[in-house]
Symmetry: C2
Subunit: 345 residues, 2 copies
DNA sequence: CTGTTAGCGCTTTCAA
DNA sequence: TTGAAAGCGCTAACAG
C-alpha cells in the first residue's frame, strides 16, 4: 500500500527529506552516491509521491478540467482524444467531467437553465480540484454565454462558444462551399440542400457556404431546392420525396448531416432513383456509418481531433500568459466515396 | 481567483477556522446564527475548498481512476457513461486516463509488451493522485493478466479480464444462443454463422451459444455453414458469397458483429438475394449504423452502460471491504428490426 | 457551542 | 553538498 512517504525514504536512505525531494525533482545537485542510494530505496519501497501534497505545496497542479456535455455523443470522444494528444505533449493532466446531458435532459439544449446547475457543479468541483483552466466540449454548436463562471480561471469552448471566451470551431461555411464546389466540378448545377434546424449555427453557416457557391458559380437559383430538415433521418426522407417529385428534380443533394442522408437514400431507393447514377449525394459529419451505407456516401469529415488539440493549445497559451491567439479555424475535409457522379443528361 | 482559504473566511466571519470547517462539513453542531454568518461570507467571497488540502488531511479522495484503452472505440464511451452514472450516485469522483491505444499501436493487442509501458504509467500516475481504486476498460475482450501492478489497490476490469482480479463482462454465450433461438422461432433451421477471429474470447463464447442452440433444437448440423471471419466487413462479404453459392444455401446468417453484417448485406445485394425475404440476418453489437442500413438490421445490443455501472458498483463494494460479489453477468438484448423474416419455402 | 493546534506529505528557504 | 524547519489549506482531536 502506498502509505510510504518521503520520510520513510529519507530514513531508510539515511538522508533528510529535503535531499529526497531534491533527487526526486532534480532541483539541486546531489552527490552521485547519495542520489543513487535514494533512488534505490525509492525503487525498493515502490514509493510514489503524493500528488495532493505536491499540489498543495507547489500551488500548481499541471491539471486542466475538461467538461464534456456528453461523452456518448459522436463528436465528443474524438475531441477528447485530441485534447489528450496535446496534453500529453505538454505534460498536462486532464480531469474529465461528463455532464451526461443527453441522458439527463435529452435534446432540450435551448433552455440553459435546465442544465446550468450541472455545469455549475462541474465547474465548481473542478475549481475545487485546483485545475488551472477548463475546456468545455459542447454536443451541439450554440451560444453558451453566461453558462459558467470560472472565477477568473481561463476557459476555452469547443463545439460551442460564448461572447467573451475563446472558442475553437471548425469552418462550417468553407465546408459546405467545398462540398458544393465538388458537386459543381462534377457537372451539377441543379443542387438541392437539406438543412438542419434553422436556429442552429451550423445550419446557418452551411447555408452561407451554399449561397456563396451558388452565387460565385452562377447557378440557377431555385428556392424549391432549399429544404429545411431537422437533422433526423425522417426529415431527409420526407424532403427527398418532395424534391424528387418536383417537375424538375435536382441532380444532386447536399444534406447537412449524414443521418438525414440516410433518409435521402431511403427515399431514393423507394422511388427507384439510383444513387449516384440518377442522383448525387453529399453528407456531413463523416459519421462512422456513412462508410457502411450502400452506396458508401461521400461526406464532409469534421476535424474533431484537431479541434480538441487546438483547444488544449490555446488554453496552454493563455496559461503561459500569452494571448489565446487566433490559429486558423480547422478545416473540414471531403471524404470521396461512391455517392457522387456526373449528372446523366 | 481562488486563493481564498478557510482562514480568510474565518477572519471575515470572526470565527475560528475550525468552525468554518464544521459548517462546511456539517461535522458538528454550530449555532444557527454563526452558521449563517459563515455561510454568507463563503458565498460572498465565492470560496471553494482546496481539494488537495482536504485529501491530504482526510487521507481519502473519494476518487477512483478509470483507464480507458481508447475513448474513441465504440464500446468505451458508453461504459464510461455507466461508470459515471453509478459514481454520481455514490458520490465518487472519476479520474479518466485515455491510453489512446488505437492511435498509438493500432490493432496489435496481442503483444502486451508494446503497451504495458502506457498502462504502467497510467497506473502509476493514478496512484500518485491517490485514487482509491481503478477500473480498466479494454477495447477488446482478452486476458490482461500481469498488465498492471496496482500496488495493492483494488482494480476491476471491464471488457477484458485477468486471472486474479474481478472483471465485469456481459454474457456472450447467452447472447448468441438467444439470437439463434429467435431465428429458430421464426422457422429457420439452416442457419449459418460468421465468426470473428477465432483466438478471440467473444468468438469462442458466441460459438458456444450457437452450438448449444444447434444441439438443443436438433438442427441439422452442417460444417459448411460455419465461416471464420475477421470482424471486418470484407470478410462478411466474401463469406456470404461462399455461403450463398452453396448447393443448399442457408436461410439465415448470424454475424458476430454488425460490421461483418454490412458485408453480408453487400454480398446479398450483389447476388440479388433480398433481405429478409430470401435471407435473414442478425448482427451483433447494435452499432449505431445498424439502424441506418437498408434494411435496418436486427442485432444484439451490448449492455455497455450496465457493464460500466456494475464495474463501479463492484469496485465500491471492494472499497467498503466487502467482497466484489458476483452479480449476474449483464445480458445482451435483441433489438428487433427488419432483417429477419420466416424462410420462404 | 467554539477555539487551539497538530499534523497530512511535500517543497524550498535559510543556514551550515 | 546537505539538513532543519516553515508552511501550503485543511480536518479533527482536545480543551474549554
Amino acid at each position: 500500500m502506498s502509505n510510504i512517504s518521503i520520510k520513510d525514504i529519507a530514513a531508510k536512505a539515511q538522508v533528510s527529506t529535503a535531499t529526497v525531494s531534491y533527487v526526486l525533482n532534480g532541483t539541486r545537485n546531489v552527490k552521485q552516491v547519495t542520489r543513487e542510494r535514494v533512488l534505490q530505496v525509492i525503487e525498493e519501497m515502490n514509493y510514489k509521491p503524493n500528488n495532493a501534497a505536491q499540489s498543495l505545496k507547489r500551488r500548481r497542479t499541471n491539471t486542466i478540467g475538461v467538461i464534456a456535455e456528453d461523452v456518448t455523443v459522436f463528436n465528443v470522444p474524438e475531441i477528447i482524444d485530441g485534447i489528450n494528444d496535446c496534453a500529453d505533449r505538454l505534460d498536462m493532466h486532464i480531469l474529465l467531467t461528463n455532464l451526461r446531458l443527453d441522458k439527463r435532459i435529452g435534446r432540450s439544449f435551448d433552455d440553459m437553465d435546465t442544465y446550468r446547475q450541472y455545469a455549475e457543479n462541474a465547474v465548481s468541483e473542478l475549481l475545487s480540484k485546483q485545475v488551472e483552466g477548463i475546456i468545455y466540449i459542447g454536443v451541439h454548436p450554440r451560444d453558451l454565454t453566461g453558462l459558467c463562471d470560472t472565477d477568473g480561471k481561463p476557459i476555452v469552448y469547443t463545439y460551442s462558444y460564448t461572447e467573451n471566451d475563446p472558442s475553437i470551431q471548425y469552418d462550417d461555411e468553407q465546408a459546405s462551399y467545398e462540398a458544393m464546389r465538388y458537386l459543381i466540378d462534377h457537372g451539377h448545377s441543379r443542387i438541392a440542400i437539406i438543412s438542419g434546424v434553422m436556429d442552429s449555427i451550423p445550419s446557418r453557416l452551411r447555408f452561407n457556404g451554399f449561397y456563396k457557391a451558388v452565387t460565385e458559380f452562377q447557378l440557377p437559383f431555385d428556392p424549391l431546392l432549399i429544404k429545411m430538415g431537422d437533422w433526423e433521418a425522417e426529415s431527409g426522407y420526407r424532403l427527398t420525396k418532395e424534391l424528387l417529385s418536383l417537375p424538375e428534380p435536382p441532380t444532386a443533394i447536399l444534406s447537412m448531416n449524414d443521418v438525414m442522408a440516410v433518409g435521402v437514400l431511403r427515399a431514393a431507393s423507394e422511388m427507384s432513383v439510383s444513387i449516384p447514377e440518377q442522383l448525387s449525394l453529399i453528407g456531413f459529419d463523416n459519421r462512422e456509418f456513412s462508410e457502411y451505407l450502400m452506396p458508401r456516401i461521400t461526406t464532409m469529415d469534421l476535424p474533431l481531433h484537431e479541434i480538441g488539440y487546438q483547444a488544449m493549445e490555446a488554453l496552454s497559451r493563455i496559461l503561459q500568459g500569452e494571448e489565446a491567439g487566433i490559429s486558423p479555424k480547422p478545416m473540414c475535409r471531403l471524404i470521396e466515396r461512391d455517392s457522387v457522379a456526373p449528372p446523366k443528361r
